[in-house]
Symmetry: C2
Subunit: 454 residues, 2 copies
């Protein structure tokens, strides 16, 4: 089948680039029309590859693109999930080429969404086309691609709860994660959850002249900095009371197993241009990213930020603060702890508002399941090397939701790399990874169908 | 003469409003043409009121508007200084009316620059017109209005050094400060200096996904917050080594005298909507603003600041940090101490750049001089109450420069109020204050000329 892929790879890339050209940024209302265009584009591709009952399912937000092919109700069914919305692309000036004018350079596709997640979703569409040319599907397939993953998947849960029969399946398949390296295939089996907040600190009732008032009023920016700083202690532990109460503690054996993942701190530092690693004392880099909860400021702003100097004491200062969660923390628990704590530590003289943005639950997926083995075997076939199970730091909140609502486990068959700069300027996706994904996915279906039937 | 003022006050206000309509924002290059138009407008008004040798003196930056009237070389000469440039007006959305569409509401002129300093400069122009109608000038007058005060007066010192003969005078008169209240006239006799910096903290070489990297790299925003927080101790003392070395320590008597200024912490808090005052332990609000150096963040930014949530670890974080200085600190000394300290406290894993913006020296002007008495007498005549000498918190860096370059003391005959919201949205200037300034200034010239001659 490699030859069909080889013969059609130029067309596959062209189609993907056309899709990437549509700026489907869900976080910014001004792109709303583009988000809908991206959904329509995908729907048309679903129809081309023979999916049936294709529709844009309305939600209170962006529509979910759905299609299915039921070849035999007696066969197992795989439900594919992904998302067609993308992260905001700013700061635009740091992109070497415009984020929505995709280019292929050095065998990489550069565009916002190239990897996260349009590129990975499109592998599934083309894998279907390829299977059609090679004996048809080995099992039933349902595909559900949403448009609000980057803003918290607020309407997906509602849709899933309302459509349990329609979405009935045996396993969930998602390509929205990465692997260790192109010659080091791996499958994520643990994902951190998320609790994300915007905080607002208000001091004086208007901006003040720092000469006339400086030194005699609480400056909201200084106060916000102090509050943020107090959220970590000198060992980089998070100081929110009860924050660690439910963190699953791994045994020494489990930690040793985890640290067997190929990882070099030197290469890690080099790849991001830092002289040192950093983080919670007593844990390795792999552990800090995989099994420990963290707290980071994702954005901060206040006062005068233009050219030159303005001697102002701002009335308000803002920050976006998120925490990555691990089993058995829950987003709801941590959101509440953060909110209470942040309001409590506000010094007299300022008022604080905490607005939770969205959350997601941490998950660990089983490595002893039929589906995991089918995926590992598929990768071994196409990469020539057995993949390593890893625990990544990112969050795919809907994995926990699929488990609770549909009772289904998920396989995270992702082909991205840490260096793909997703959520950053110059996001890209390797042409190798895109094609290898299209090649690998059909093996998964065949392995899975054979194992379940057998 | 009050009747001439009464008869012409509508016209005076109309002329000022026309000038305020020109957005002479010096900090932002896109207003450069407007800055020049504001200078031309002023030059035309100088000619109308009979100033001679009127010119736009070129500098490496914005021109200085100059004019003079020498009625008799044997008489004393007053050099008037002011500025026609204004602070940036953003955030625009917080203005009740657009900053460059001046309106008069509740007897106040609302516009950027209404008080600081176009409104106060224009009082001097109209005071000249009034004296022309009332027996002419009692002494020689030179007027020098610059266009770069809000960005540090970088070219004024060069101009002054190159034109010492042209600027020869006996005293400097400036209206760019405030008084305690409309029924509590006062004259500023102490001004704090300024050291202003932009700092940049760089962590990883690109923005990173907080899920994949969070907890394992130094987050530049968190680091910047921690560095800023460390600049004050628990008593709100500034922690920069040697920072207080040269601070003039007042005697108990001097402090008691200073605290006799009418001030109510309750009214102060109420006026800015704060439940508490705040500041360096061991000092009153009046002392914190008047005689103690301070450090404030004037702006901060980094990471994602748009709508919604983006789970990013920013590569860079920025802040604008300024210190207000008191005698006998110097801007050069403190700029160097800050720079060294801020670079030294950067933790391993980030790099720090400190870019000084501009500075200014603290000054105390004498209260026993002929010029101060002439000003105090003038205010007593028009306000019916002897003004109180105060030590304000703002900075007029050029006062120290005039002393060192021209050997001249300055009288700060300002008519603004703390509540005028200069440097803030809804800057305004009382119609009362504008007219009272025009009425008071001629008395100063007459008192001063009489005292020097006598």
């Amino acid at each position: 089948m490699a030859s069909f892929l080889q013969q059609n790879q130029e067309r596959f890339l062209t189609e993907l680039l056309d899709w990437l050209r549509i700026p489907s940024v869900s976080a910014d209302p001004k792109f709303h029309g583009d988000v809908l265009r991206a959904a329509e584009y995908l729907k048309a591709r679903f129809l081309e590859v023979g999916l049936e009952n294709v529709e844009l399912c309305p939600t209170a937000g962006n529509p979910i693109v759905y299609g299915e092919k039921i070849i035999d109700p007696a066969l197992p069914t795989v439900l594919v999930y992904g998302h067609y919305d993308v992260q905001p692309a700013d700061p635009y000036e740091l992109w070497d080429s415009p984020p929505f004018e995709p280019v292929i350079k050095d065998e990489k596709i550069y565009a916002r969404g190239a990897c996260d997640d349009k590129g990975q979703v499109y592998m599934h569409v083309k894998a279907l086309e390829m299977m059609n040319q090679d004996g048809g599907l080995p099992c039933n397939i349902k595909v559900m691609i949403e448009g609000e993953e980057e803003i918290g998947s607020n309407n997906l849960g509602i849709f899933v709860r309302a459509n349990k029969e329609k979405l009935k399946a045996d396993v969930i398949l998602i390509s929205d994660t990465g692997m260790l390296a192109n010659d080091e295939p791996s499958i994520e089996v643990g994902l951190r959850g998320l609790s994300y907040h915007e905080v607002e600190v208000t001091g004086p009732n208007r901006d003040l002249h720092s000469g006339l008032y400086g030194g005699a009023v609480a400056n909201p920016i200084n106060v916000l900095c102090k509050m943020i700083t107090s959220l970590h202690d000198e060992n980089n532990h998070i100081t929110i009371p009860e924050f660690y109460n439910n963190v699953a503690v791994l045994t020494d054996e489990e930690r040793a197993e985890l640290n067997r993942v190929p990882h070099s701190d030197d290469e890690f530092k080099k790849s991001i241009g830092l002289p040192d690693t950093y983080g919670e004392q007593g844990y390795t880099t792999v552990e800090r990213i995989g099994i420990r909860p963290t707290l980071d400021v994702n954005g901060i702003w206040g006062g005068y930020t233009g050219e030159g100097a303005k001697t102002v004491i701002a009335s308000k200062a803002y920050a976006k603060i998120s925490m990555r969660l691990v089993p058995n923390q829950t987003s709801e628990e941590i959101t509440q702890l953060f909110q209470q704590h942040f309001e409590r530590i506000a010094p007299s003289g300022v008022t604080v508002k905490v607005k939770p943005h969205h959350g997601g639950e941490p998950v660990v997926t089983p490595t002893d399941s039929v589906a995991y083995k089918a995926a590992a075997d598929a990768m071994e076939t196409t990469f020539g090397k057995r993949p390593i199970p890893t625990r990544g730091g990112g969050s795919i909140p809907i994995v926990a939701m699929f488990k609770s609502e549909l009772g289904l486990d998920t396989v995270l068959l992702g082909f991205g790399l840490d260096s793909d700069a997703i959520h950053s300027p110059n996001e890209h996706y390797g042409v190798f990874n895109f094609l290898k994904g299209i090649e690998t996915i059909p093996h998964f279906y065949r392995n899975y169908a054979a194992a379940v039937k057998g």
